[in-house]
Amino acid sequence: MEFYTQSAWLIPIFPLAAFLLLIALGRSYRTTAMLLGSAGSLAAFVLSLLVLFERLGPDAVDYSIRSFKWIVIGDYTLRLGFEVTNLTSLMLVVITGVSLAVNVYSAGYMKNDERLTVFYGYVALFTFSMIGLVLADNILLLYIFWELVGVCSFLLIGFWYARPSARAAAKKAFIVTRIGDAGLLLAILLLFWYMPGHALDFTSIYNVFHEGQSGVMTSGITTFIALLILLGAIGKSGQFPLHVWLPDAMEGPTPISALIHAATMVAAGVFLLARTFDIVSASEAAMQTTAYIGGFTAIFAATIALAQNDIKRILAYSTVSQLGYMVMAIGLGSVSGGIFHLFTHAFFKALLFLGAGSIIHAVHTQDIREMGGLGAKMKTTAWTFAIGALALSGIPPFSGFWSKDAILTTALDENPVLFVVGLAAAFCTALYMSRLFFLVFAGKPRSGHAAVKESAAVMTIPMIILAALSVVAGFIETPWNGWLSGWLSGSEAVETVHGGSSIAAMVASIGVGALGIYLGWLFFVKKSIGSGFMAAKLPSLLRAVERGYYIDEWYRVIIVKPLRGLGSTLAVFDEYVIGGTVRMTGALTTAAGRFAARLSNGKVQTYGLAALIGCIVLIAVIVGRRFWS
């Protein structure tokens, strides 16, 4: 019956095998590398689809197997295994699908890169780790894969390590996310300590927390664990105040930005919150914090995106903002809303990044002020990008509209303040996307790109497929059809009772989306309001927004500088105290050796004297001991 579900452990094996083969093959097998990498994710994708279809039936029960004993301490056994739930199978399809698209796309985008095989190896390793992350049946195994995807992210951001900025960005990403990882690790340790039987698997966590926790933990501990898990999600998903690594991560190759830093890895934080939702929802304070952090990030990053000029940085801040929506949805108690937005966002944001990659590939610049008029020369890129932009701006019937609407409806029901924040962010989203789109594709070329031509089919076909998905993916959950939320929660489709608030949210969301696009059109196409308007009126504000409200600078002053000061103090201590001791030991030994060498001069009388002194010392000790004791 559940044949494919039971063989779900095979899904990560394919990319892992591809990774191992690619590492073993070496750099000269370039075509083989592309085929192997794509074949690995294709196989994983097909199997994921089969698993998903198998689970679409109404009687799908969560399947988990944990046969492998990893650690045995006394009578405590930590077992590893995998678990397939509806949420997991949906994530599997998203991950392997985007991974496949990016693998194919990279064959065009990266074809002249010297380290192509290494690139495909990293991508395969990432795909493996990400699949492992969603399949993991206990939180410790999830953490292992969580760190693995972090490593892959580090490797791929720093893929062009000859560029100092890429090296710096890779280190920054690794260190900043580490703060969140430390939080998650602490949460796991606390769970291990307080859970009955030290169980760490999600089923036990569900059982403990779902039934009102029945006195296992105090509410303080629960809140603490929930906040630490939230910290992990904040680090990984680029939420304020740990969002600073994500825009810099755009130093990596563009397909990587699409795969890791838009569609999958950054969504891991949202996935974590959804997976441990029973813990988070057990604490009202944690839920509030989650919702407000998400909402604040959504509006905060959206305003920064308005003032960026680098095409990839706009999309990066947009990703941060959209992840803020997802986190906000989970904080408001709507896991299905968050996951739904994750699902649609994965497709249209990956599409936008692939489109951006196609543009960069053609014009060799990332500055949108130097582009313009590309719509006529790159037709496929232009219309797929337009679909992605409309989906992101929340214009019906594209997928982003439905998912954003689901979140906004929840917000309107639960917390009107966050609804307003979400609407404002949606307006900014529409505005910066129209700015981006019009500056790049409309008007006249602003600098000489005579030889611009459309990218090869190997790059455009993944974009077309993702564009199609961006159109249709939203229909799995509409205000009239709550199929996804019902399926995710494992019950029959819940009757959605939003009614009036749904309509209101929908109207408001369409309104601000259209307004944003219209304003963008006024600004950048019709030019009825000069685009230098902001720069003339509020230059300091514009500069602050452009620099991301100087968050990086604040961190430099508040954290980096004191830490460096402490570091150099410790370095002095190390040099003169620790190093001094070491050097003194050496000097003492040398001096003793030199003295002993002077003594052994071959003369009998010197040896005799030494023997005499030794003898006297011996006698003195023996006699002295008699007096002393």
Binding site: N601, G602, K603, V604, G608, L612
Partner: protein, 100 residues
């Protein structure tokens, strides 16, 4: 009587030790060694006469020691002559063969 004899032997031994350690001339060093030996002989005799259990054994033993010491001194002088022939000096400072 015992302490004064023992003090006398100790003084003799110390003079011998001093000579053996600081004198340059190998012959004087040899003589100093004999002095130390005789300090020991004196101890043997004193203990056999005034010790806890006086007996004749100690005095007989010292006679043997003197005999052996004579033989040893002969060997020592022979070695010294061989050394003098090889090195052309009796200065102990220049005998540093043990370093090589």
């Amino acid at each position: 009587m015992l302490p004064s004899y023992l003090t006398m032997a100790a003084i003799l031994f110390c003079i011998g030790l001093y000579g053996a350690l600081v004198k340059r001339n190998a012959v004087v060093v040899l003589l100093s060694v004999e002095l130390m030996l005789n300090a020991v002989n004196l101890n043997l005799i004193v203990f056999s006469k005034y010790g806890v259990a006086p007996s004749l054994t100690g005095q007989v033993f010292s006679l043997f020691t003197i005999t052996v010491a004579a033989a040893e001194a002969a060997v020592g002088v022979a070695i010294l002559i061989a050394l003098f022939r090889a090195k052309g000096t009796v200065n102990v400072d220049e005998y540093d063969e043990m370093r090589r």
